[in-house]
């Protein structure tokens, strides 16, 4: 026998179901909102000089948009193209070593921070915008020795460029953008990897320096580092900038160079132990890690890491030159300069000098022979060879 429920009781039973459905709808709606928030970062990055103009550093892939020492010293900025989808009023930018999730609040905490803000304030929300960050700011926050590990933004100074706390090899940082809902990340974060290497390889050691005619031969041993991709040579004075008043050394005299080897050298990691008694590259400002020399002294380059001898050309015979060299990495960073050595190009006597001095008559070029010998020349030999070839072909044809 069917049971008939009164209308009032039916309504009481349906009401909780309707309430649950409505609640679920609200929750799902909120979840949908949360998933709608996302940030993406374009892989194309622009390098801006201090005047805000874009330029190319000429670094090879995969470090095209990497940060090197010159970027830091020249106070270069990087511009990123960021796309955000809302809703939201602002989002944040943090930097960390690659692989650290800055969405995890523990990684942004004061004592255990692994992520640091790269802007003082939150970034106002826009769907599409270019965000520019100074390299010094990025590095300052990422440098474990300089950053005080607080959740407040600290602007970077030129101190960071000395590379204190950085290794000589390639480091990957990650710039992360995300919305925050309280302490938790909201939506999908955007991130871009930034290769960094602001510290050149260890300094090589000059083991010998020998003179040639207008050139110097520098024997050296490399520092132990896998990062080295070449060497940069430094001369003081650089070729073409010799002091016309400098007295030339007589042939056979020992090389003696005047004055300080390389004035205005930049010490690496100032504040560490001084080495005034045995100054690198001849400057009393040197530190235990050495000095970086200015490109104004550059007088040659070697590509590749296996070389053990370098040659500087275009030098003046009898003029004393200070010579130093530095290893260079894939980010075009010159490492610390070697100790400076003094060298003097010398006049040399080669075989041809001896031959001519002994009364030898030959020489004048291949074409000179044609004039002297009339029809006898390379062409005659060519004709003879062609004749032999023709004979061979003709004979083979006859046989067929």
């Amino acid at each position: 026998m069917p049971r008939v429920m009164p209308p009032g009781r039916t309504a009481l039973r349906v009401l909780p179901v309707l309430f649950a459905v409505a609640l679920l709808a609200i929750l799902l709606g909120r979840e949908g909102e949360a998933f709608a928030q996302s940030i993406t970062v374009s892989p194309t990055v622009y390098r801006l000089n201090a005047q805000g103009q874009t330029f190319d550093r000429g670094l090879a892939a995969p470090n095209t948009y990497g940060i090197n020492y010159a970027d830091c010293v020249e106070d270069v900025s990087f511009r990123f193209n960021v796309t955000a989808t809302g809703p939201g009023s602002a989002f944040y930018a943090f930097i960390s070593q690659k692989g650290v999730n800055c969405g995890d609040s523990a990684n942004r905490a004061t004592q255990t921070a692994k992520c640091w803000p790269v802007m003082a304030d939150a970034i106002p929300f826009k769907n599409l915008q270019d965000l520019t960050f100074r390299v010094r700011d990025l590095l300052s926050q990422a440098s474990p020795n300089i950053n005080p590990k607080v959740q407040t933004f600290t602007s970077g100074t030129d101190e960071v460029c000395q590379g204190k706390g950085f290794q000589t090899g390639r480091l990957e940082l990650e710039l992360q953008f995300f919305f925050l809902n309280g302490d938790s990340i909201a939506g999908q974060k955007g991130a871009i990897t930034i290769p960094v290497d602001i510290k050149g390889p260890p300094k090589p050691t000059i083991t010998s320096i020998g003179g040639g005619e207008g050139r110097l031969y520098i024997g050296f041993t490399a520092g132990s580092d896998q990062d080295t991709q070449g060497y940069t040579l430094f001369c003081n004075p650089p070729p073409g900038k010799e002091d016309p008043g400098q007295e030339l050394l007589p042939v056979g005299a020992a090389a003696v160079c005047p004055g300080t080897a390389f004035p205005n050298a930049t010490p690496i990691a100032a504040g560490t132990s001084q080495s005034g008694d045995n100054p690198d590259a001849g400057t009393s400002a040197a530190t235990s890690e050495g000095v970086v020399l200015s490109s104004e002294y550059e007088c040659g380059r070697i590509e590749g890491s296996t070389a053990t001898e370098a040659v500087v050309t275009g030098l003046k015979i009898g003029y004393p030159y200070w010579i130093a060299m530095a290893a260079r990495d894939g980010f075009k960073n010159n490492g610390a300069a070697s100790d400076a050595s003094c060298g003097v190009p010398v006049p040399v006597t080669d075989f041809w000098d001896l031959y001519k001095g002994a009364g030898g008559q030959a020489g004048g070029g291949y074409c000179a022979l044609e004039r002297v010998g009339g029809r006898t020349g390379a062409g005659a030999l060519g004709l003879a060879l062609a004749g032999v070839a023709s004979l061979a072909v003709a004979r083979r044809r006859r046989r067929r």
Partner: protein
């Protein structure tokens, strides 16, 4: 200096080469009558050519140039012989049964000699190097007497070569081609040029087929190589100018040459 005996030998070889080339048509005609065979068919595939990989112990006779005071070559490069590597290609145009083959051949080789320079006015070696590179070429008539090998089964093949030599040469330092100023014209003269001369050689080749006939047949079947030799040769590169060539650099010399030869 070429001795009288050498001149005689060269004359004979050259004459034979010229006669051989001039009479090749006659020889073919005789071949049709069965007297001569233009091709060697003793070991399988036809044999018309030979190629040699050569290594000579070379020392140019630059210091023997007339009028030269002192020994600039020996003073710079010393008297140790240097390696001259090259190859030779011969066409065995004419085969004379029970005697051997004769035909033209061409060759090219290369060597470079290097030594330290000296600080001018001293005996102190400088770090900079001075070098002399030489590219000798020659075109010769080649006579190979293989009657011992073919008829008497003694795997020795005497041979002789005679013809014209030519060498390109250049002296340079680390800074590039050396040069000197002509005292008459005042012009800069680069330290490079070419020298003509005569070329002769005589030697013995050992037929390696005698040591492994099966391998030799396989080599012939697969690559068409009839004979493989190692050889030793005494070489006269008389590169002192030819036909009135003025002021040649004496880049020739006598040397022992060793190598590997293939007939195919």
């Amino acid at each position: 200096m070429i001795t009288r005996r050498l001149r005689l030998t060269l004359g004979i070889v050259t004459t034979m080469a010229l006669v051989g080339l001039a009479d090749s048509g006659t020889a073919e005609a005789q071949d049709r009558s069965g007297i001569l065979t233009p091709r060697h068919r003793e070991v399988g595939s036809p044999q018309n050519f030979a190629i040699e990989a050569r290594l000579s112990l070379y020392q140019p006779e630059i210091d023997s140039e007339p009028g030269l005071v002192g020994k600039p070559y020996a003073s710079t490069f010393g008297d140790m012989r240097r390696a001259l590597v090259g190859f030779e290609f011969d066409w065995q145009a004419l085969r004379i049964p029970h005697f051997g083959s004769i035909g033209p051949g061409v060759a090219a080789s290369y060597t470079v000699l290097s030594a330290p320079t000296y600080v001018t006015g001293t005996t102190t070696p400088a770090r900079e190097e001075t070098s002399l590179e030489v590219f000798p070429f020659y075109g010769v008539a080649v006579l190979r007497l293989d009657l011992l090998n073919h008829d008497l089964h003694i795997p020795i093949v005497p041979f002789a070569k005679a013809g014209v030599g030519y060498a390109l040469w250049r002296s340079y330092t680390d800074a590039g081609t050396a040069s000197s100023v002509d005292p008459v014209s005042g012009k800069n003269q680069p330290a490079k040029g070419a020298t003509w001369g005569t070329h002769a050689a005589a030697g013995l080749a050992l037929d390696l087929n005698a040591f492994d006939g099966t391998a030799a047949r396989n080599f012939d079947n697969s690559m068409g190589v009839n004979h493989t030799y190692i050889f030793a040769e005494y070489t006269w590169m008389n590169l002192r100018g030819l036909g009135g060539q003025k002021a040649p650099l004496y880049v020739g010399g006598t040397s022992w040459t060793f190598g590997l030869a293939f007939e195919f």
